[in-house]
Symmetry: C2
């Protein structure tokens, strides 16, 4: 067990030392805004650096090249450890905040869930708000690399389809150098889009702090906001339109963005079967729901119905999680449909969560094939997603993923119900957390937050975020005895 | 299209002629009870016989041996047509009953769903109540043959595992003779168990009519009752115990019963992996829920909590659908868990519905295999359910089934929500109907029935029953163009 754990802790120690650099941003913000919290962030920076240094030194005898199998432990512990260490400034600045709530907040940030237990966000010191949004953004950076470079290499539930995109031999290869190359290219795209978003939001009327914060939480699909009323605070169709564009971009595969950028052509998007399916599903859902709400009289006219459906539906479906209206008050058909979309309308290789479009496409293709096989039992055919032929083993991997995903949703929902939460709150909270989406309905609805939950319920939700972020299998595999064998 | 349709209609015509014989039972009951409805049943008998004879004669030029592919059309039309013709006596006897409601009632009977749109059941003429329960029982007969002999032959979503049990070559073989042999053996078991149940219920204190009716609806897992209060009417632990035994027996594979009967030994049950899993899941769920309800103070002591949980949980989990308490008022954890169980805790080859235990076991095995593959990517292994090795194609078939099952649940729930039903009622109604279980929660809860639904909602629920009963794929395949090609 230690053979596997210690070399991973060595790398994590280094990671924490690097992580301490990220405190420079809130320190600068605090000094600029003169909100007096800079000293707390300096303390937090020191804690992170020293703790990381200690870990690195203590485990230095066990340093070795990491193998793919170590990757599962690395990513799971990375998210847990960083969330834990990132609680320090929140605990220092915010009076009366419990560790449970602080951990929920930072885990929510780093997994880009964006659910919050804090109220009065607009009264938080600017540095603290910036720090929360930076966690979204850093989480997003981690996820893009995780989704595009690490998970396919690890063969997680269908994602091995994308193995081809990371060149070179697979088996027992060294993890780090290849990932570093891919990461650099992807982060370039991510940073460029973030910059574009900041400038667009500023031009649309936000101040610089809000623009930076919301660009961070839009590109990462984190969905944190600097206001309790979320994007509803601005009541600006222009800001909503800008955010819709960047949320949809963030819900596409960043490898596709990179290809489009390298080829200086939009052809990469047209070739991307996931992107096409996401676009079609979003557009048709917006239209149907806007007509439905207008028909039900929720909004006086079609254009305001369209505006509010477009923003909130895209926000929930892409797993960003902003709200501009209390959609919990809409006829239940629409919010439930939005929650359903949040499971599928994001691409693999994006910062969104849930089942992902590629798995939904594989499932749908498999179902069609089975219907054909009922008529022609000896039919041998290959299922395809876009132009990509799906190797036979991938169906099994998707089946395994779906089973564990559904199993987790059911188990964790029942934990919440058994601890006293009503069914809709329990089920939607787990869906919102495991999809790294954010708001649920009822007790955890868009006009509420996760503050009403008990400590036990808060931990269950934190677990759901982590499990969802790491595509379920990467966490479950740590609980199999054979993982820990040499 | 007519090439496929007409020979099937010829067989269905014969079936309707045979079906008219089933009216003899309510006619006899009406004469015995002197409730005056015998003339309506004679009329209904004549309609069924004449309509069937007309169909047979008109299509006699198109008579041919049926092929496996015809089976899908045969079973779907058989359930629809029989439900339609069985509405005749209900429409004749019950004033003001609409065709929509009558069709729901007969479809609910023949699919052994047991949901009702009628109130004042205890005031219905005895012959009508017997007729409703006979529909349950006849539906059960059809389902056992369907599940053990027909669907495996047709290769429906994982059920082809059981193909081995029906001997002889598969491809293009003649459907009828083989099925007839299997059917006879199974019906023997079914009839023997029904007789045992009638006598046990009479001994436990029911009158003959109630004993026959409840034995019919217990063995078929239909769940119709002669009282609005269902089995709660009797308030008898003994009757509940008898029904628990027969419900559990009915939830096992009737092929296993037949083997045990032929071998004069219980070893067949021990060999049956599904039976073991059903038993373990039921027993542990009863214990956990009884402790939970006692702890929550729903019942004053553990023994009454155990009694009520045991009966209602077994009833819902086995898809029978009786209620002895208004479990909708229990803390939501328990009824939701019961609804979840209703998807999985019945064996294939039983009269229960839903996903079935064998598919759940295949899914769980596949998920375990995928976790192992993350650690040893080149691992080649066979998944097993009990001693049965699962051929590779079956995983894909299960994946296809699950996708279409979940797709149907989601789509139909959204139809109900869009037409104004609340989320819990909509979702639980569809689960209750597609699993052929019976009561849902809220508007369609155990203390209510399906009368509150609009006509549109009633038809959606009728469709869910049919789709669930025919294991989803058998219905969906009719909507593929290639089905209708030569
Ligand atoms: K989010
Ligand atoms: K039933």
């Amino acid at each position: 067990m230690l053979f596997r754990l210690l070399p991973v802790l060595h790398v994590l120690g280094l990671m924490l030392m690097f992580f301490s650099v990220t405190y420079l941003m809130p320190i600068a913000a605090s000094l600029l805004a003169d909100d007096g919290t800079w000293i707390d962030f300096v303390d937090a920076m020191a804690v992170s650096f020293c703790f990381g240094a200690l870990m690195t030194v203590l485990t230095s005898r066990h340093k070795r090249e990491l193998k793919p199998r170590d990757g599962f432990l690395l990513v799971t512990l990375a998210w847990v450890l960083m969330a834990a260490i990132a609680t320090v400034p929140l605990l220092l600045v915010i009076d009366g905040l419990s560790f449970t709530d602080a951990f929920f907040e930072t885990m929510s940030g780093l997994t880009t869930t964006g659910a919050t237990v804090l109220t009065g966000l607009e009264r938080l010191p600017p540095a603290v708000n910036l720090w929360r949004h930076e966690l979204n953004w850093l989480g997003g950076m981690g996820i893009i690399v995780l989704a595009v470079a690490i998970l396919p290499l690890l063969g997680v539930g269908g994602m091995q389809l994308y193995r081809a995109e990371t060149p070179g031999p697979m088996k027992d290869s060294k993890l780090t150098p290849r990932i570093a190359g891919t990461a650099k290219a992807l982060w370039l795209v991510y940073a460029a889009l973030t910059l574009a978003c900041i400038l667009s939001l500023k031009a649309a009327g936000m101040d610089w702090l809000d623009a930076v914060c919301h660009a961070f939480s839009a590109l990462s699909l984190g969905g944190f906001s600097t206001y309790d009323a979320s994007v509803g605070q601005f009541d600006s169709p222009l800001i909503e339109a800008v955010l819709i564009v960047f949320m949809v971009l963030a819900a596409l595969n960043f490898a596709t963005h990179f290809l489009a950028f390298r080829e200086r052509s939009l052809a990469a998007y047209a070739r991307d079967a996931e992107a096409r399916a996401v676009a079609v599903l979003l557009a048709s859902s917006i239209l149907i729901c806007a007509v439905y709400l207008a028909g039900q009289g929720t909004y006086p006219d079609f254009s305001s119905s369209l505006r509010h459906v477009a923003f909130n539906l895209v926000s929930i479906a892409t797993d960003c999680g902003y709200a501009s209206q209390d959609f919990d008050k809409w006829p239940i058909f629409v919010p439930m449909w939005m929650l359903f979309l949040s499971c599928v309308t994001v691409s693999s290789g994006s910062t969104g969560g849930g089942i992902k479009m590629v798995r939904a496409l594989i499932l749908a293709q498999q179902a069609q094939l089975e219907l054909k096989r009922l008529i022609h039992p000896s039919l041998v055919t290959v299922i395809r997603v876009g132009r990509m032929a799906i190797p036979p083993g991938v169906s099994g991997a998707v089946l395994g993923f779906i089973f564990l995903y559904v199993f987790t949703v059911i188990e964790l929902s029942f934990f919440l119900m058994a601890s006293g939460l009503d069914y809709i709150s329990a089920f939607t909270a787990i869906i919102a957390c495991i999809n790294n989406m954010g708001p649920g309905l009822n007790v955890v609805g868009p006009a509420q937050n996760y503050q009403a939950l008990t400590d036990f319920q808060t931990w269950v939700c934190s677990a759901a975020m982590l499990i969802g972020r790491l595509e379920v299998l990467s966490v479950f595999v740590l609980f199999t005895p054979s993982f820990w064998r040499r």
